[in-house]
């Protein structure tokens, strides 16, 4: 597995300092990165704790090959790598990375079927979140590219989990971008206590524990991950 520093190099995120001509402020950039980190923490905790609570038999009983567990573990490893990378990048930029929160996945861990359905919802939401937020990094080429390289992997996860859930891996010709408000609405029920950061450029909050409520009237994109 890639170590954080390798990831940084690979993703081109080492030279992170916003260039002089950038128009977005450091606070704007950090809020976008912390928004991503907020979601990656949730995903990482979901897989880490979930995989610890299920045996391989729980999945083979559903008719899956044992290797499905290895694949899911690989997804979990990716989420951890994303957490570590984003944490390192935010720190390097002089920001304060959001910490992991306290989540409630009780319903998701009820059985392997619920776990896989929740994983699918989280991954498809993650893709939509990155698709919707990439625009806020448009002034920083390296960070944008780094975010896109994570975005693609989330989409790969989503497609695979759709298959496991007997859903179409690619239900439309175009993925749906989600606004931060839509993402918070979907992720909110899992959050017991966590700092939820959303992009300032989208009217979000940079460090408030209260989920933002901006854009709630924006109904152009219904928040419906294939769940």
């Amino acid at each position: 597995m890639l170590q954080p520093l390798d990831m940084l190099t690979k993703a081109g995120a080492v030279r992170l300092a916003p260039a002089a001509q950038d128009t977005a402020s450091d606070e704007d950039i950090l809020s976008v990165l912390n928004y991503a980190l907020t979601l990656e923490h949730l995903e990482n905790a979901f897989y880490r704790d979930g995989l610890a609570s299920f045996t391989v038999d729980a999945f083979t009983a559903l008719g899956f090959q044992p290797s499905v567990v290895d694949y899911i573990a690989e997804i979990g490893a990716h989420e951890l790598a994303h957490v570590e990378t984003l944490t390192a990048v935010i720190t390097d930029l002089g920001g304060t990375p959001v910490a992991e929160g306290i989540y409630d996945f009780t319903a998701a861990y009820a059985d392997a079927t619920a776990f896989l359905a929740t994983a699918m919802a989280l991954e498809n939401t993650g893709v939509g979140a990155y698709t919707g937020a990439a625009q806020y990094l448009i002034d920083n080429d390296d960070l944008l590219t780094a975010a896109l390289t994570i975005h693609g992997v989330e989409a790969r996860h989503a497609a695979y989990l759709n298959v496991l859930n007997d859903e179409d891996p690619f239900p439309d010709a175009f993925d749906e971008p989600l606004t931060p408000a839509e993402v918070v609405e979907i992720a909110g029920p899992f959050i017991v206590d966590a700092e939820v950061v959303t992009p300032l450029a989208a009217g979000g909050v940079g460090g408030d524990a209260t989920p933002m409520a901006e854009d709630e009237e924006d109904e152009e994109a219904e928040a419906t991950p294939a769940a």
């Binding site: 448009i138 590219t145 994570i150 693609g152 989409a155 790969r156 497609a159 010709a173 175009f174």
Partner: protein, 232 residues
């Protein structure tokens, strides 16, 4: 300076000679299809992948050039599936252990690529640009197995191409639109990896490729240049 997509297409012939030959690419794709650990070995070739920031070796003059670069690849992908699905039947692809029949999934992918072609063509036209047209291609597949191997290579390359080019877009709305396409390409890539017995998500991050690197991979498939047109 000519638009990038023109250079992309007319440079194909030199690239064809001195870089990856189709034969070699296919041989490596076949290795991928065989489920070997050499998955994406063509991407690991020295010089193709350095694990570094995509630099602007080839620069885009404006957003239209970036979109035409994307359209060049979408044309190639659409033609690939359109023609391949006319060539192979569901029986040729065999049983899928992953839900719907393979030909059904490939038909969806074909339709997506067609939608990407149509959308990019419209957007480029609306922006006052001239959309690049479909070229003639030779994908070199000989059976359904090698077809699926080429499909896998094309989709994974497509993701890397978009990831490498996204930074050159200046209009945030176009960037979001590109994001809605690249996510679907990544979904395609994931599924095709799965079909070919390769990990659907081989790394924690994608590998962004420069246009020159993408050209080295996709170029050998392009046999005619609709713009400059020297005969191959």
């Amino acid at each position: 300076m000519r638009p990038l997509h023109e250079r992309l297409l007319s440079d194909v012939f030199q690239e064809q000679a001195r870089r990856l030959s189709r034969r070699r690419l296919l041989a490596q794709s076949a290795t991928v299809a065989a489920g070997g650990a050499l998955a994406f070995s063509f991407l690991d070739a020295p010089g193709l992948l350095g694990g570094r920031t995509v630099s602007a070796q080839t620069t885009f003059a404006d957003d239209v050039e970036v979109l035409n670069y994307a359209l060049t690849l979408e044309h190639l992908e659409y033609a690939f599936y359109r023609d391949g699905l006319e060539t192979f039947s569901d029986e040729d692809f065999g049983e899928s252990p992953f839900g719907a029949p393979i030909s059904e999934r490939l038909t969806s992918i074909r339709d997506h690529e067609q939608a990407h072609v149509e959308t990019l063509t419209t957007v480029i036209t609306d922006l006052g640009g001239e959309p690049v047209e479909e070229a003639a291609y030779d994908f070199g597949y000989t059976d359904a197995i090698s077809f699926l191997a080429v499909a896998q290579a094309l989709e994974n390359t497509g993701v890397s191409a978009y990831d490498g080019a996204g930074q050159f877009l200046e209009n945030p709305d176009l960037l979001t639109a590109a994001g809605t396409i690249v996510a679907v390409e990544a979904r395609h890539a994931s599924y095709l990896n799965l079909l070919n017995g390769v990990l659907p998500f081989p790394a924690a991050v994608e590998t962004p490729l420069t246009p020159d690197e993408v050209l080295a991979i996709a170029g050998p498939f392009i046999v005619t240049d609709p713009i400059a047109t020297p005969e191959a």
